[in-house]
C-alpha cells in the first residue's frame, strides 16, 4: 500500500546533531510484558463470550444423541411456537447451494442432512431472547433417527461389508487410498528395511495406543454475529485463522467474502481446537434470518462436541540395532482415527509418517500412516499434530532397545541422534542446527530433585506432608509402597505448514507522528490465542523501527491473511511479515529524510542509516534527525506478504520430498513417584531442554514450554475422551470426568533454553509451541516404567494399569 507523499517541507531549525544512537528498549530478546496483560487481570479484556449487543438474541445448537443414523424426520413446530423464540433452523433453511465446509475436504455439513455421522453432530439451531429459552425450545424439537451400525476402528472401517461413512467421495485422496473409509494414506520407504533387519543383532517391537486427547482450552466456543445493512454480517469470534474461517463461512451463507466481515475477539486458548469452524456459520445464519445480533456460547459439555480432538492412534513399531547400539532399521504402521469428518486428517497423516522415525538417524525405513473415517468424534489439529503419537511410540521403543542391549537409554539416543546434515526418511536434509544429543545431555546433567520430599524432618523426628505424595490430600499413603522412577524422551516436530502449502502471512505497518512522537501501528490478521504474538510483534517493530510506542491494531479481515496460529508458525511467519513490512517502512522513512533533509548533512547520502531511539542514526552512531522531524504530518503505510522457503508434497508411493520448512527439538527428563499399591502417580519434576533458535521474548518462551509440557503430562496420566466402542458415544464430556492437570498435578518445570540460530528464519528463531508437548508424555511414561518395571504401552496410564487389577 502506498505512502501518502506530500510536498517536501523544510523543518523549522536544523536537525539535532551528534546524539549517540541507543538501542530502543523493549525490542527482541527482552522479556517485555504483554500489551493485553492489564486488561486481562482487571477483567476488562473482551473475550468472545463477553460480547454484548443491544437487542441481542441467544443461539443454541441441537446436537444428535446418536452416532450414526439416518434422520427420518424433524419436527420444529413446538419449538418455534415457544414464546421468546425467534427462529428455528435446520438443513432445509441453508440459503446457498454450498451446504458443507471443511479445512481441506468439504465433507462437514453445516447442519446434518439426512444422516448424522457422530454423536453430537449439529442438527438444528434456535435463536431466543434468553439462553435458557433457547435450550428449552431446542429440547422440543422432535427428531426421528433410524440407527445405522457404527464404525469405530480399523477392522470395522475396512471390513468387506463396511458401511461407507461418506458415500460418493470426490476428494483428491480417494484415488490413492485402499478403502473409501480411509481418508489418506502416506507410506515412506527409504533404503531396504528387510535387508537391514538381517544385519541387526537385536530387534524389538511393540504395539502402542494413544488415547483421544482434548484441547480443553478454557474459553469455550463463542461469538457474536451482527447483521449489517448491506445484507452481510459482522462476526466477532475466537478463532485461530480468520481468513480460513471466512473462506469456509461465506459460501455456506451464500454471501461474497467481502460481505462477511470478521474481527477476532478475545481467545481463551486454542491448541488446534479452533482451526475448524464451530459456531461461526450457525450464529451468522441465525443473525441473517432474524435480522438481530445473535450470540452463541457453548458450555463445557457442548464444547466437547464443538471441536475436533487429537487423533487417537494405534501404532506398531519395530526397531533393530547392532550390538554397539547403532540403529539398523525401523518399520512402523500408524493408524490414526480421524472420526466422522476429515478436518486436518490428511496433514496429520503427513506429519505422523514423515516424523515417525523421530530425531534419529535410520537409513532403512518402512513407514505407513493412515487416517480412518469412523463414527467416532472428528479429530484434527492439536498441539504436536501427528508427531505426538509417533513420539510416544518411538521413545518407548528406544527404552526397550536400550534394555535389550543393556545400554543406558540416554546414551543409546545420543548415539543415534540426528544432527545438522542428517537425511530424514523423506530424503530431506536437515539444514539447520539439530542439537538432539546436547538437549539430552542437558536434562540428564541436571541434579535430581531430593528423594522423599514429603518427609520434612523436624525437631521430633519427621512428619509427612501428604500433599507432596501421590494421592495428595486424599491421604491415601504416607509413603509406604511409593517408588521413584526417572525417564527421558526427546522429540522432533516440524514448524509451519508442510507438503507444498503456500504458507504466507501479511502485515501492515504504519508509522506516523502523534503528539510529536513517532508511533508505529502493526496490523495483521494473526489470532492471538494466548501465545503472546502481540507482544512479539511490538518487540519486532521497536527493533526494526527504533520507536518505543507501538500500537497493535485488532486482528480482522480488513488486512490480508496471516495464516493460522498453529504449527508453531506464527512468530516465524507473521513475525517475519512484520519484520519485512517494518524494513520497507524504514526504507520509506529514510527516503523521505533524504528528500527533505538530505542537504543538511552529507551522511544522508553516504552513510548506512538506521532508526534508533526515535531518530535517524548513522551506523557510526550519529543522529541526523528525529523521525518526527522527517515525517512531520506524513504517514508511511505498507502492507506486504511474506513467505518462508517453499516446500513440496511427499511422493504418494515413496514419501520422498522436501516437505518441511524447519524443525523444532525438545528433550524432557521426568521424575515420578508412584504409589504401587493404589496405582497413583505423582510427577515430581519435568525438566525440559529446548532449542528455540532465538528467544524473542524469554519469559513467553518459558511459558510456552511449560504449558506444552503440562499438556503432555496430562495425556500421560489422566486425559482421555472415552468413546463407547459399541455406540461411539462420548462418555465423559465434562471437566468432572475429563481431567486436565491442576496445579497439584503439575510439578516444577525447569526450562533450559538453547539458542542455536536457524539461518533461514527471521532472527534465527525456531517455532517453539509444540515440541515440548511431544517429549513430555513419553518421558513421564518412561519414568513410570522405571519405577514399576511394567511395560505400559498406552496413554493415559490409569491406576489399574499399574496395579494390574
Amino acid at each position: 500500500m502506498a505512502q501518502h507523499p506530500r510536498a517536501a517541507s523544510v523543518p523549522a531549525g536544523t536537525p539535532t546533531k551528534i546524539t549517540q544512537g541507543s538501542k530502543t528498549p523493549g525490542g527482541i530478546g527482552e522479556s517485555t510484558l504483554r500489551p493485553d496483560g492489564t486488561l486481562k487481570v482487571t477483567g476488562e479484556f473482551a473475550y468472545s463470550s463477553d460480547m454484548w449487543h443491544e437487542d441481542m438474541l441467544w443461539g443454541h445448537t441441537l446436537r444428535s444423541t446418536v452416532a450414526h443414523a439416518g434422520i427420518s424426520s424433524i419436527d420444529t413446530g413446538e419449538a418455534l411456537a415457544t414464546p421468546g423464540v425467534y427462529a428455528v433452523l435446520t438443513y432445509d433453511d441453508l440459503p446457498a447451494p454450498m451446504k458443507n465446509y471443511g479445512l481441506e475436504i468439504q465433507d462437514t455439513p453445516a447442519l446434518a442432512h439426512g444422516k448424522v455421522r457422530h454423536h453430537g453432530e449439529p442438527v438444528a439451531l434456535v435463536a431466543a431472547d434468553h439462553p435458557e429459552t433457547a435450550r428449552r425450545a431446542a429440547a422440543k424439537i422432535r427428531i426421528e433417527y433410524a440407527e445405522l451400525p457404527v464404525i469405530t476402528d480399523e477392522a470395522s472401517a475396512t471390513a468387506p461389508d463396511a458401511v461407507l461413512v461418506h458415500e460418493g467421495r470426490t476428494d483428491h485422496h480417494i484415488g490413492h487410498v485402499p478403502h473409501p473409509n480411509i481418508v489418506h494414506r502416506q507410506p515412506i520407504v527409504r533404503g531396504d528395511a528387510d535387508a537391514a533387519a538381517a544385519r541387526a543383532d537385536v530387534i524389538v517391537s511393540g504395539d502402542y495406543v494413544f488415547g483421544m486427547q482434548d484441547q480443553a482450552f478454557l474459553g469455550p466456543e463463542s461469538g457474536l454475529a451482527v447483521p449489517s445493512e448491506d445484507g452481510g454480517v459482522e462476526l466477532y469470534v475466537a478463532t485461530q485463522w480468520l481468513h480460513s474461517d471466512l473462506r469456509q463461512i461465506a459460501p455456506v451463507l451464500g454471501l461474497p467474502e467481502d460481505k462477511v466481515r470478521m474481527t477476532l475477539s478475545g481467545v481463551g486458548g486454542a491448541f488446534g481446537g479452533r482451526e475448524d469452524l464451530s459456531m461461526q456459520i450457525h450464529a451468522c445464519l441465525l443473525a441473517l434470518r432474524t435480522g438481530k445480533p445473535v450470540k452463541m456460547v457453548y458450555n463445557r459439555f457442548e464444547s466437547f462436541f464443538g471441536h475436533v480432538h487429537r487423533h487417537p492412534a494405534k501404532l506398531h513399531y519395530e526397531h533393530g540395532a547392532t550390538k554397539d547400539g547403532k540403529l539398523t532399521h525401523m518399520k512402523c504402521r500408524i493408524v490414526l482415527d480421524g472420526g466422522a469428518y476429515a478436518s486436518a486428517s490428511p496433514a496429520v497423516v503427513g506429519n505422523a509418517s514423515s516424523l515417525a522415525v523421530g530425531p534419529y538417524v535410520v537409513e532403512d525405513v518402512d513407514i505407513e500412516a493412515i487416517a480412518l473415517y469412523s463414527n467416532n468424534p472428528p479429530c484434527g489439529a492439536m498441539r504436536g499434530f501427528g508427531a505426538v503419537q509417533a513420539c510416544f511410540a518411538y521413545e518407548a521403543q528406544m527404552d526397550k532397545l536400550a534394555a535389550a542391549l543393556d545400554m543406558d537409554p540416554v546414551e543409546l539416543r545420543q548415539l543415534n541422534a540426528m544432527e545438522q546434515g542428517t537425511l530424514l526418511p523423506t530424503g530431506q536434509r536437515v539444514d539447520s542446527p539439530a542439537p538432539v544429543a546436547e538437549l539430552l545431555r542437558r536434562v540428564k546433567a541436571r541434579p535430581l530433585p531430593p528423594e522423599q520430599q514429603w518427609l520434612s524432618a523436624d525437631a521430633e523426628g519427621s512428619s509427612v506432608d501428604v500433599r507432596a505424595l501421590p494421592g495428595g490430600l486424599s491421604n491415601t499413603t504416607h509413603g509406604e509402597g511409593v517408588v521413584r522412577g526417572v525417564g527421558y524422551a526427546v522429540g522432533l516436530k516440524n514448524v509451519g505448514f508442510s507438503e507444498g502449502f503456500d504458507d504466507y502471512s501479511t502485515a501492515r505497518v504504519r508509522m506516523e507522528v502523534i503528539n510529536g512522537e513517532p508511533v508505529a501501528t502493526v496490523h495483521t490478521a494473526m489470532a492471538e490465542v494466548g501465545q503472546g504474538g502481540v507482544t512479539v510483534h511490538a518487540q519486532i517493530a521497536r527493533t526494526e523501527l527504533g520507536v518505543s510506542q507501538v500500537t497493535i491494531h485488532p486482528a480482522d479481515t480488513r488486512v490480508g491473511s496471516a495464516g493460522s496460529t498453529s504449527a508453531s508458525r506464527q512468530t516465524y511467519v507473521t513475525g517475519g511479515a512484520v519484520k519485512h513490512s517494518c524494513e520497507a517502512v524504514r526504507e520509506r522513512i529514510l527516503e523521505i529524510g533524504r528528500r527533505k533533509l538530505g542537504t543538511y548533512h552529507p551522511a544522508w547520502a553516504t552513510a548506512e542509516l538506521l532508526l534508533e531511539g526515535g531518530k535517524v542514526v548513522t551506523d557510526g552512531g550519529e543522529a541526523l534527525a528525529s523521525v518526527a522531524e522527517v515525517l512531520q504530518d506524513e504517514a508511511v503505510d505498507v502492507e506486504l506478504e511474506w513467505r518462508h522457503r517453499p516446500t513440496e508434497a511427499f511422493d504418494l508411493r515413496t514419501g520422498q520430498g522436501n516437505g518441511h520448512v524447519q524443525y523444532s527439538f525438545a528433550a524432557h527428563r521426568a521424575v515420578v513417584e508412584v504409589d504401587t499399591e493404589l496405582g497413583l502417580v505423582k510427577v515430581i519434576e519435568l525438566a525440559c531442554a529446548q532449542d528455540v533458535g532465538k528467544a524473542l521474548n524469554p519469559l513467553s518462551v518459558q511459558g510456552q514450554i511449560q504449558g506444552g509440557t503440562t499438556q503432555g503430562l496430562g495425556v500421560a496420566v489422566m486425559e482421555e475422551i472415552l468413546v463407547d466402542p459399541k455406540t461411539a458415544k462420548v462418555r465423559n464430556p465434562s471437566f468432572t470426568d475429563y481431567l486436565i492437570p491442576t496445579i497439584l498435578d503439575t510439578p516444577t518445570i525447569p526450562v533450559d533454553v538453547l539458542e542455536l540460530a536457524d539461518d533461514h528464519a527471521p532472527y534465527g528463531l525456531r517455532g517453539i509451541g509444540e515440541a515440548p508437548t511431544l517429549s513430555s508424555t513419553p518421558a513421564v511414561l518412561a519414568a513410570i516404567r522405571d519405577a514399576t518395571g511394567l511395560e505400559l504401552n498406552r496413554t493415559p496410564v490409569r491406576p489399574e494399569h499399574i496395579t494390574g487389577s
Binding site: G37, E44, R300, Q702, F735, T742, I743
Partner: protein, 198 residues
C-alpha cells in the same frame, strides 16, 4: 424475581431474574461485569471464582437468589478491595491471628465509583501486578478466578509455602501456563507484600 446485593462495594438490584439463573450469569449478563468467566459451569475450573461475603465461591454454582443481601467481589473490584484491606488492617495476616476479611469489614467497604476513576483507583492490586510481571497471563481466561483465589490466600496467609499455594489454587484450572509462572506470581506478590510491611 428481584435480587438485591452489593457488588464491588456498590448496592445493586437485578430485576426479572429467572430462578435458575446463576450468580455468574447475573454478574456477566445483567450487571455488565464479564470479568468472571464461564469455562465449565460445573464448579470444576474456578474461572468464575468471586468472593461472597469474603469467601471464594464458584459463582456458576451459586443461584442468584442466594446472593440476596450479600457482598460480592469480582475481579473488577479486586484492586479496590485489596486497597481497602490495606487501609483497614495494614500488614495483618495469619501470624497476627486476624486471618481473612471479616464480614463486617467486607460490608463496610465501598468501592470508588468507576465512572470517576482516579489514577489511584485504576491502579492494580499487588496480585494483579504480580501476574503480569511474572508472565502468569497467557490467554488469561483462567486469570480472573485465579486472582480472586490467590488474593484471598495472601489475605489469609501472607507468606504461603509452595504447597500452600498449590493447595489453595487447586480448584482453578489453567490450560496455558503449566502453572509455574502462576506460582511465581503468588510468590512475588507475597514477597512484595512482605517488603511493604517491613
Amino acid at each position: 424475581m428481584r435480587v438485591n446485593f452489593t457488588v464491588n462495594g456498590r448496592p445493586q438490584e437485578a430485576d426479572d431474574v429467572w430462578e435458575g439463573e446463576s450468580l455468574l450469569y447475573v454478574l456477566r449478563e445483567r450487571m455488565g461485569l464479564p470479568g468472571s468467566k464461564n469455562a465449565c459451569e460445573q464448579g470444576e475450573c474456578g474461572s468464575c471464582t468471586v468472593r461472597l461475603d469474603g469467601v471464594p465461591v464458584c459463582s456458576c454454582l451459586v443461584a442468584a437468589g442466594q446472593a440476596e443481601g450479600r457482598e460480592v467481589v469480582t475481579v473488577e473490584g479486586l484492586a479496590d478491595y485489596a486497597r481497602h484491606r490495606e487501609d483497614a488492617h495494614p500488614g495483618t495476616g495469619c501470624a497476627a491471628g486476624t486471618c481473612g476479611t471479616s464480614l463486617d469489614a467486607a460490608q463496610r467497604w465501598q468501592a470508588r465509583p468507576t465512572d470517576a476513576r482516579s489514577a489511584e483507583a485504576a491502579a492494580l492490586s499487588p496480585i494483579q501486578q504480580a501476574f503480569i510481571d511474572a508472565g502468569a497471563v497467557q490467554c488469561g481466561f483462567c486469570t480472573p478466578g485465579l486472582l480472586v483465589a490467590a488474593d484471598e490466600l495472601l489475605e489469609a496467609c501472607p507468606s504461603p509455602s509452595d504447597q500452600d499455594i498449590r493447595e489453595a489454587l487447586s480448584g482453578n484450572l489453567c490450560r496455558c501456563t503449566g502453572y509455574e509462572k502462576i506460582l511465581d506470581a503468588v510468590r512475588l506478590a507475597a514477597a512484595r507484600q512482605e517488603e511493604t510491611v517491613r
